[in-house]
Each structure stands twice: as structure tokens, then as C-alpha cells.
């Protein structure tokens, strides 16, 4: 959705992740970038260059916070120290919404630093939704949860991943950061139709979309974020935009990071879909022959 209560009623366009190798270029060239996404954890430090750089970026650009360690799906309560530091950072960045993943990654105080998939059970829905509400209440800003790439499925699961996502966001009353690359990666690894996933997501809750590159291996597909977005992912993106209308979109490029211009121009490819979509979206509308092809592979 263009502007909704899950993205702080903002209308952001295409952004890219703020990454160390691009700092020099950004300050020297001052390129026009609609917004930057930061990984919150890199700025939850006590001092130093990272925070000074962030302040300089905040003077010139719009910034949205994205986290990698909140673990909404963890069975145990959130770490208060983590929440306090995160809130301090949100006050600094004035992020209109905050995203993190629908996953777990720590137990009994031990952290895996991975985005581990959930068993899709009703117990997990209740636990995760309660945790999202707790974080949302504490931070006092809208939360969007992101679907992760996964490489395993569990016997315990009682529903599909998209049913689980829908149940959680309804119960938590939160937004969605729809990562269409993650949907693609998981669809390859688990053999489901990615369009069925995208078609079932409650569009009114979509705060933001991620696109990224992945790597295909002989027996599985890995979410590597280390090269351009592949065509099937743009196809899913087109369908998502067709459903939602123009939505804040971000390209993730986290490894083997090329020049700023290369990353930015890859991200700006999203504009061809955004510009031809009409807010509010008309489901099933044929917006251009290009997109139509991608939507009906």
C-alpha cells in the first residue's frame, strides 16, 4: 500500500541499504537517493564513526531501520537491554516504521545470529504475535515483519508459510515487509507456487518490499544478496506491486558489494513497475505488456 498505518503513512519510493563501502561515494557525490535502509544492529553501539556517519546521513536522507536480531518467533521473552538500545536508535533516526524477521535465532541466552525458520503451528502464532505486540508497544512505532528464506520444513507445521504469516500479522495487528526474493528462494527449496504466496498476503498490511539476488546450487537455492535481482524475482515483484500499488521498495546487496552506482541503478529498475502501477491497485489489472508476461509465467 502506498501509505498506510504500517509504514507510518509515508510514501517512500526506491531505496538501498546503507553500506560501509559506499560511504565515501555518498559524501563526495551526494547522490539523490529516495531513502536508505540501515541494519539497526550496526548502529546500536556506544560511539564512534558509525554514529557520526549516521548523523550525517540523517541530515540529508530519509532512513528506515531494519533489524536482524529481534527474533519475533523466539519462545522466550525479548532482551530488555536490546529493546532499550533499539528504542534509543529509533529516536535518533526517527524511522517511520521498523522491520525485522519472522523467525527465531536464540534460546536460553545463546545466539545463533541466523534467521531460523519457524514451525508453522498455532502455538507459534500466539507466541510470535504476543512478542511483536510487546515490541511494538515498547518502541511506539509501527512494526513490519519480514518473511525469511528457508532451507528446512518441519513435521510439526500445521499450515503453509503464507498462512502462518497471515495468522501472525492479524493476531499482532502489524505490517509486513514482503521479501519477494525470499518467497522465490523458499518456493524453490520447498516446491510451492510463489504466486500463490503473493496472492494470499493481506495487501493492506504491506509496509515495504525487499528485492535481492540469490544463488542457485545443485540441490538448493541460497539467499546470498551478492548479485543483481534475477528475472523470476522481478516477476514476483511485478505481481506484488500490481496488488499493492506503489510501495516502498528496497534492494538488499550485502556481500561482494559493487559500486554505489551499480547497486543504485539495479534498485531503480523497480521504478518501471512502480511507475506503471496505479494507486490504489486494481487486482488483476494489466498494467503493461512487460508486467503481464511476468505475472503470468
Amino acid at each position: 500500500m502506498p501509505a498506510n498505518r504500517f509504514n507510518g503513512f509515508s510514501e517512500y519510493g526506491v531505496g538501498i541499504g546503507l553500506r560501509v563501502p559506499h560511504y565515501d561515494h555518498i559524501f563526495a557525490e551526494q547522490p539523490i537517493v529516495d531513502w536508505f535502509e540501515i541494519i539497526s544492529e550496526n548502529y546500536m553501539v556506544d560511539g564512534g564513526r558509525a554514529l557520526e556517519i549516521l548523523d550525517q546521513i540523517l541530515d540529508r536522507y530519509r532512513v528506515v531501520q531494519h533489524g536482524v536480531s529481534m527474533y519475533f518467533g523466539s519462545a522466550q521473552p525479548a532482551d530488555r537491554e536490546h529493546l532499550k538500545r533499539l528504542k534509543t536508535l529509533t529516536r535518533r533516526t526517527k524511522t517511520p516504521w521498523l522491520s525485522d524477521h519472522l523467525c527465531w535465532g536464540s534460546v536460553d541466552g545463546r545466539y545463533t545470529h541466523d534467521l531460523l525458520p519457524m514451525p508453522y503451528t498455532f502455538e507459534a502464532v500466539r507466541t510470535t504475535a504476543a512478542r511483536i505486540r510487546e515490541v511494538q508497544d515498547f518502541l511506539e512505532i509501527p512494526i513490519a515483519v519480514e518473511n525469511v528464506s528457508s532451507y528446512a520444513e518441519f513435521h510439526q507445521s500445521e499450515m503453509t508459510e503464507w498462512e502462518f504469516l497471515n495468522e501472525v500479522v492479524e493476531a499482532a495487528d502489524c505490517g509486513i515487509l514482503l521479501d519477494v526474493n525470499n518467497i522465490y528462494v523458499s518456493s524453490q527449496n520447498h516446491g510451492f507456487d510463489p504466486f500463490e504466496y503473493i496472492n494470499s498476503v493481506p495487501v493492506e498490511r504491506i509496509a515495504q518490499i525487499h528485492v535481492a539476488g540469490h544463488s542457485k546450487f545443485e540441490k538448493y537455492t541460497l539467499d546470498t544478496h551478492d548479485h543483481p535481482v534475477l528475472d523470476p524475482v522481478w516477476g514476483l515483484y511485478a505481481r506484488a506491486i500490481e496488488r499493492t500499488g506503489p510501495t516502498a521498495t528496497l534492494l538488499e546487496w550485502d556481500d561482494n558489494i559493487p559500486s554505489f552506482n551499480e547497486v543504485h541503478s539495479e534498485a531503480l529498475k523497480a521504478n518501471q513497475y512502480l511507475e506503471s502501477s496505479t494507486p490504489p491497485a486494481i487486482p488483476g489489472a494489466v498494467v503493461s505488456s512487460n508486467v503481464t508476461e511476468a505475472v503470468h509465467p
Binding site: 550496526n42 556506544d46 560511539g47 519462545a75 534460546v107 545466539y111
Partner: protein, 295 residues
């Protein structure tokens, strides 16, 4: 199996050490089969068995955490070589898994751990320890807190009873080798990256750098941040003792006594030294105001 039991089981499996060639172990520590364990909760598909699916996460975990620690210790890597260094990091992490939401602190206990594990020091225990301590001090100086500094004009109000607080980012080390030269040489060849990212991890090997020869020759070092860059500044013994005493909370008068207790300098010489220390400290902003509730 409820959600907590499920997560305990999977976390244990994901964090279980790999075989020496970075594969998932076929048996667990009690001798039972990892395959059976994986099948107990992970579905296979037409491409991968339950074991292989779990192995993706098991390997990812070890790549991620070893890479995070290795990035903080490039000079230690260069000193010990890739083989010993990789083994050292693995052994360290088996005993010191992450207990924080950020990877930033994962290597914090490595210098202390190395002291208890001389087998990794390649028969150069003191040198190895010095390098590890300096590299961790670099991390602390890099993003430690910086409080508003005392100005030279504030110094006129100091008395023997004054408590002076040092900047939290300022680290003090007494080292047996001049390892600042070695660490600088390596750090100039390696660039720092973000602490955490969304990307899956790959195994990376350290870069090759020609290391300066090290001969035993004690130095006292301040590692501090100035205008967002980390610097190493050699101190004389008295200055080091003074700063350590202040850092330990001793009032100024007693800290000065500690600094010069073994000094052969004349009272005038000592006064000149003190003048010099304070003017440097003011210039670099090393002293800061006490927090309100600390008095």
C-alpha cells in the same frame, strides 16, 4: 514438543561443532545418529535429506561466527597462519558461544581465553597474547563511548582529592613486544566492514601481509579514538601508571604518587612531566566529567 523444546533442539543441532572438513557430524556426543535426530523434526524433500537440510544451517552457523571473530583479529591470523588461527577460533567459540544480540562482542574474551591455551601460541605465547590484546583494544576504542571532555581550563579546579574519569574508549596496555607496528601493518591491509548483515556467510581466508620482525622490548600503549580514527600512542612508564591508577578510581593525588613511586626524576622533573601529561590529555580529550550520580 512445544515451541521452546523445538527451539532448544534445533539450536543445539545448529551450534554443534562440525567435522574437521566442515561437514555436519554423523554422530552426536552421546554416540547417537545425527541423521535420526534430524529426521525427528525436519522433513526431507526430493532433493535433500533431513540431515542435509539441517547441515545447511549447521555450516552457516559456524561460517558466520568464525568469520565474525576472525574479522576482529586479522593480525593474530597473520601471525599464527590460517591453519592454527582457524582451529583457535573454532575452539574458542566452542567454549564461548554468543550471548549477545550483536556479533560485536563475540571476540571479547579471546585474549583471556588464549592465556589459558598456550598450545595455540606457536611457542610465542607473550607475542601472541600481546597481538590479541591490542586487537581487542582496537575494537573497544573504535566504537566505545565518548563523553564530553575536560578542557585545560577545567584543570585549574583539580585538587589531590579530585577523581578524574578517563574516556571509556581509551584503552591502556602494557605489552612485552612493540606489537603496535605489527598490528598497524596488518590493519592497513584490511578494511572494516559492518558488524552484521543480511547475507549468508562464506568461508574467507586471511590476506598475506609481510610482518615486521618482533623483538622483546616492553612498551606502554594508549589506544584511543580521536576524530573517529583509532590511534596507538606510546606512553612512558610513569604516564601509564598514572592513567591506570585514575582508571581504577584512585583520586588524583594518590594516582600521582603511584606514578612516581619508583621514579628517579627530581621534583622539578616530575612537575614538568605532569604538566606535559595533562596538556596531552587535554589536547586529546582523555579526561571527562564524572556522571552526575558518580560525584
Amino acid at each position: 514438543m512445544n515451541l521452546l523444546e523445538f527451539q532448544r533442539r534445533m539450536a543445539e543441532d545448529v551450534m554443534r561443532p562440525l567435522t574437521p572438513d566442515f561437514q555436519m557430524r554423523p554422530t552426536m556426543s552421546d554416540g547417537s545418529s545425527t541423521q535420526a535426530r534430524a529426521e525427528s523434526y525436519i522433513k526431507p524433500n526430493d532433493q535433500l535429506t533431513s540431515f542435509e537440510r539441517l547441515e545447511i544451517y549447521n555450516r552457516q552457523y559456524w561460517f558466520r561466527v568464525t568469520e565474525a571473530v576472525a574479522e576482529d583479529y586479522p593480525a593474530l591470523n597473520a601471525l599464527l597462519g590460517d591453519t592454527i588461527f582457524s582451529r583457535l577460533i573454532l575452539e574458542y567459540l566452542k567454549e564461548n558461544p554468543s550471548t549477545s544480540f550483536t556479533l560485536r562482542n563475540l571476540g571479547s574474551k579471546l585474549p583471556q581465553w588464549l592465556e589459558a591455551h598456550p598450545e595455540f601460541a606457536n611457542r610465542r605465547q607473550d607475542l601472541t597474547l600481546d597481538v590479541a590484546r591490542l586487537e581487542w583494544a582496537y575494537v573497544e576504542a573504535f566504537d566505545g563511548a565518548s563523553l564530553s571532555p575536560l578542557m585545560a581550563s577545567d584543570f585549574t579546579f583539580l585538587t589531590a582529592e579530585s577523581n578524574l574519569r578517563l574516556q571509556p574508549h581509551l584503552q591502556l596496555l602494557d605489552l612485552k613486544y612493540p606489537v603496535d607496528e605489527l598490528v598497524l601493518a596488518v590493519h592497513q591491509e584490511t578494511s572494516r566492514r559492518d558488524i552484521m548483515s543480511n547475507a549468508v556467510s562464506e568461508r574467507k581466508q586471511g590476506s598475506k601481509v609481510r610482518l615486521p620482525k618482533m623483538r622483546r622490548s616492553p612498551i606502554y600503549l594508549a589506544i584511543h579514538r580521536y576524530e573517529n580514527s583509532v590511534y596507538y600512542r606510546r606512553l612512558d612508564h610513569e604516564a601509564f601508571l598514572l592513567l591506570i591508577a585514575l582508571q581504577n578510581g584512585r583520586p588524583l593525588g594518590s594516582a600521582l604518587e603511584a606514578a612516581f613511586v619508583q621514579s628517579s626524576l627530581s621534583p622539578e622533573g616530575q612537575a614538568a612531566k605532569i604538566q606535559e601529561y595533562f596538556s596531552h590529555a587535554a589536547e586529546l580529550g582523555w579526561f571527562c566529567k564524572q556522571a552526575e550520580n558518580e560525584g
